[in-house]
């Protein structure tokens, strides 16, 4: 029977080979390429690996990427949307920085969103240092509904609605001067968590550095997310006061560790710098201790305390005081080796992986062991009264990877991938415990190191920080590109390198280099494209992106277009459709207060119009079905033109009108 099966298989193989041979008469057997393709490969000096990489990434016109990567836009303050594996930029989402193409911050609703993130004294902030995008999750998996991202520079977070890929809310954390460990979500997006970075007195208070230990604090914010409204609700949100240890990166527990949050920290030395005074600079002062503290939060307990009235109102925000957090079991510490970075929870929530910038290991903490240690009690306390679990009571394993391990993501085969900053490499290593049976190698072992170019910071994998990673691809987010791209002057692009992780063992391959020439991104998340269900056009004419509903006051036909005057107030209802505005002539008086509503009557996908008014710093993007309102005072008399700024049709140049402002 077995023999027969083999014979049949062998025959089938011969048949397949024979048929294959017939199909490609021009195919040189050695390369499997057509003569033309072989010639191109020869001319461009492409080897077999290059051809493999090309085939893995080339995306013919009209074919779509199976994954979408949301990358922090770094100092641009925006978010990059990138197709994977083609590595094509699809859009740069306007978030913290005004962006004219999207009409964001030049009149219209974007201005209100930006104003939401101004300083408490209303001082405008018109950029952001975006670090960590966080997609909304359901049961620990991306659900494709919302995206959150933090602004490290000003302790803010933004909410982006993925129905129209627009920023809906920017909110400034009271009491925090900067942030870093965010935005991370709890497994069902109950909270958007933003951890702190550099300690400061709560709420921008003044205190000299001599009072560092007494007055300076870290503060972690648990922003309550109201999914139905698509907004963060500050009234339902709370903060926890922390020691001034420079908390860094956080991750929410999931599955077995749901209800918990983990953050690393790197200044338990409480260094206060002053290199100019002969003190050790921060870079030395903060790296003195052999260990810092992994912060272990019980956020369900914290929520209970907050709801039970155990939080104090500071600057309008509920804050759970450090003492309360320590006494009530909200916060525990576990030592973590030398200048730790990252705190990345495994897909099943069993372990937390922490890298050590100056330690060749990643340290793997067991959630179960942490729980047992907390239950056993009898823990020593640190200077602020927080119980400390000894490292050996919480550690599951340490894996030696090399120099500068930072961040870790996961795949579907029980491998972990850690970015190695100093080694400029991606390390693939095996998880143990319940993951040991998924890969051929023993658990907790380094499998392969792949060089990347150069100085990798974060690392992203396809759904690689969720409860069910996809494998397939890893992207190395490299800080330096040095020689990878044509020289374009002393400021170089970053380099996103796509890595193939489809096969087990030592099989990781570099596939593609993507230059990022607009900022230095930090983290990125990669979601399956079919989880995103954005609008093709706004669902109905008169749709207001701010409320995500039809504006009952918006006009829906050209017939309703009109100008109304009440005293000095002029209200304009304008219809926008290929290829004319209506009205096309508007005459007002100097000093009039103008409220100008626009409605796109378009239903055709991609039939976007722009609107700019010369001399008034206004530019809008008016997408199919959308309504938008601007307000300004006509303080300059004269003759002004307004025109469509998005090439909409053959008669686009004719889409224009005159605003006559009588002196």
């Amino acid at each position: 029977m077995k023999k027969l099966a083999i014979a049949v298989l062998a025959f089938a193989t011969i048949l397949m080979v024979a048929c294959g041979g017939q199909g490609g008469a021009a195919t040189p057997a050695a390369t499997g390429l057509t003569a033309d393709a072989a010639q191109v490969a020869k001319e461009r000096e492409l080897n077999a690996d290059d051809i493999y990489a090309a085939l893995k990434t080339y995306t013919p016109s009209g074919k779509l990427d199976p994954y979408i990567m949301f990358s922090s836009g770094g100092q641009s303050g925006q978010v990059l949307v990138i197709g994977v594996p083609s590595m094509r930029i699809l859009k740069v989402l306007a978030v913290f920085t005004p962006e004219p193409w999207q009409g964001y911050g030049f009149g219209g609703g974007g201005e209100q969103v930006l104003a939401g993130g101004f300083m408490p004294n209303k001082k405008p902030i018109l950029w952001g240092d975006t670090h960590h995008p966080g997609l909304s999750e359901t049961n620990g998996d991306y659900d494709g509904q919302f995206l959150f991202i933090n602004d490290k520079a000003n302790a803010r977070v933004a909410v982006i609605d993925l129905r129209d890929f627009k920023t809906k809310q920017i909110i400034k954390a009271p009491n925090a001067v900067n942030d870093h460990g965010g935005a991370f979500v709890t497994p069902n997006t109950e909270y958007v968590i933003v951890g702190p970075q550099y300690a400061a007195p709560i709420g921008y208070e003044y205190a000299p550095l001599e009072q560092y230990k007494e007055k300076y604090r870290g503060i972690i914010t648990f922003w309550k997310f109201d999914r139905s409204k698509g907004r963060i609700d500050p009234a339902q949100s709370f903060q926890i006061e922390l020691p001034p240890y420079w908390q860094d990166l956080c991750d929410a527990g999931k599955k077995v560790s749901e209800g918990w949050v983990f953050c690393n920290s790197f200044n338990t030395e409480m260094a206060t710098g002053g290199v100019e005074l002969g003190n050790p600079p921060f870079e030395a002062g903060t790296t003195k201790n052999d260990t810092d503290y992994l912060h272990v939060f019980n956020w369900k307990k914290a929520e209970e305390l907050f709801k039970g009235g155990k939080a104090e109102k500071i600057n309008g925000m509920s804050v759970i005081r450090l003492k309360t957090a320590a006494d009530e079991g909200v916060l525990h510490f576990v030592p973590e080796p030398k200048s730790p970075h990252g705190a990345d929870v495994t897909p099943g929530g069993e372990f937390v992986v922490v890298g050590g910038k100056l330690d060749p290991h990643v340290t793997i903490y067991s959630f179960e062991k942490i729980q047992n240690a907390i239950k056993a009690g009898g823990l020593n306390k640190d200077a602020f009264g927080v119980p400390v679990i000894p490292l050996d009571k919480a550690m599951e394993a340490q894996v030696e990877l090399g120099l500068g391990p930072l961040h870790t993501v996961y795949d579907d085969k029980g491998y972990a991938y850690t970015s190695m900053f100093l080694d400029s490499a991606v390390a693939r290593w095996t998880l143990g415990g319940p993951y040991a049976s998924k890969h051929p190698e023993p658990g907790w072992k380094l499998v392969q190191k792949l060089s990347v170019h150069y100085n990798i910071g974060h690392i992203a994998a396809a759904e690689g920080d969720t409860a069910s990673p996809d494998g397939q691809f890893v992207v190395a987010l490299n800080k330096w590109s040095i020689d990878r791209f044509a020289n374009i002057g002393p400021l170089l692009p970053q380099n996103f390198q796509l890595v193939d992780i489809t096969k087990t063992g030592e099989s990781m391959k570099l596939l593609y280099d993507m230059p990022i020439g607009m900022a230095e991104p930090h983290y990125a998340q990669i979601i399956k494209a079919d989880k995103l269900k954005p609008f093709e056009v706004y669902p109905q004419i008169g749709w207001d992106p701010a409320t995500m509903a039809v504006d009952p006051k918006a006009i829906t036909t050209e017939k309703e277009a009109r100008v109304e005057r009440k005293g000095n107030n002029v209200e304009i209802w304008m219809s926008v459709v290929r290829s004319h505005f209506s009205p096309e002539r508007i005459t007002i008086k100097k000093g009039d207060k103008v409220t100008w509503h626009f409605t796109s009557l378009e239903r055709q996908r991609d039939a976007t119009h722009g609107f700019t008014l010369s001399g008034y710093n206004i530019n809008l993007s008016i997408e199919p079905g959308m309504t938008e309102t601007i307000e300004f005072v006509a303080d300059q008399a004269g003759t002004y033109t307004y025109y469509c700024t998005e090439f909409c049709s053959a008669l686009h140049l004719e889409m224009v009108g005159y605003l006559l402002i009588e002196p």
């Binding site: 459709v577 290929r578 290829s579 009557l601 378009e602 239903r603 055709q604 053959a650 008669l651 004719e654």
Partner: protein
């Protein structure tokens, strides 16, 4: 023969018979059959109202999926808005303006055709054909009216529109291909029209059976009159 067919297909009780005025008997089924067929024709006609009768598809490079408008007897569906938006450059009236009167009366008119078919069931002589005639001619009337609407449409170009001056009046084809600018147009009948034609064919069949059933009755009545007169 009809009785045989009915026995075969429906297995009705052939003992139930109709006594004709001259004393001859015929199967009840031979009278029920044309009624059923005409009622079925009316039903098919009613169903057609819920289906598109005709469609126009426009194809151009920048519309990879094409633009399609489906014409029902009482409304239009599909990319009407976008086609109107494009047509306004040519100075063509909105699609909605063509055949507005016809659409406004269509449901009542077609329902009337159906009721007339039902009325035919109660007319037991050759005049039943008169009641069925409107439903028979209806598909042709529809097509003729469609041609007229298209003619009107292509001859109502607004010369003040962007390209109005450059376009000569024309009649878009009722069926088949045409070309306007970068757009290829494809006009084709849709399932509703086929239903209405099918309904007309059923009416023909129904009338044939109607004649087969009631001609003997009319003849028997005549014979009965004749024998009464001679008596």
């Amino acid at each position: 023969m009809i009785g045989d067919v009915m026995k075969f297909s429906f297995n009705f009780d052939s003992d139930v018979q109709v006594l004709l005025p001259d004393g001859s008997k015929r199967s009840l089924l031979s009278f029920l059959l044309p009624n059923a067929i005409l009622m079925f024709a009316a039903l098919v006609l009613m169903v057609s109202m819920m289906l598109p009768y005709w469609s126009m598809t426009l194809k151009a490079p920048q519309y990879p999926k094409g633009l399609k408008v489906n014409v029902f007897v009482n409304h239009l569906e599909g990319d009407v808005r976008e086609i109107d938006s494009l047509n306004h450059y040519l100075g063509m009236p909105p699609l909605d303006e063509g055949g507005r009167f016809e659409r406004s009366i269509s449901v009542i008119a077609i329902a009337t055709l159906g009721l007339l078919l039902l009325a035919g069931v109660f007319v037991h002589n050759q005049f039943a054909a008169l009641f069925a005639l409107p439903a028979l001619g209806y598909p042709l009337i529809f097509l003729a009216d469609l041609w007229y609407i298209l003619y009107q449409y292509g001859h109502s170009i607004d010369p003040k529109s962007a390209l109005g001056g450059a376009i000569k009046p024309f009649t878009p084809p009722v069926f088949g291909e045409g070309k306007i600018g970068q757009f290829g147009t494809f006009a084709s009948p849709e399932i509703g029209l086929y239903f209405s034609i099918f309904s007309a064919l059923i009416v023909l069949v129904g009338l044939w059976f109607h004649r087969a059933a009631y001609k003997p009755l009319v003849d028997a009545r005549k014979r009965a009159h004749a024998s009464k007169a001679t008596a």
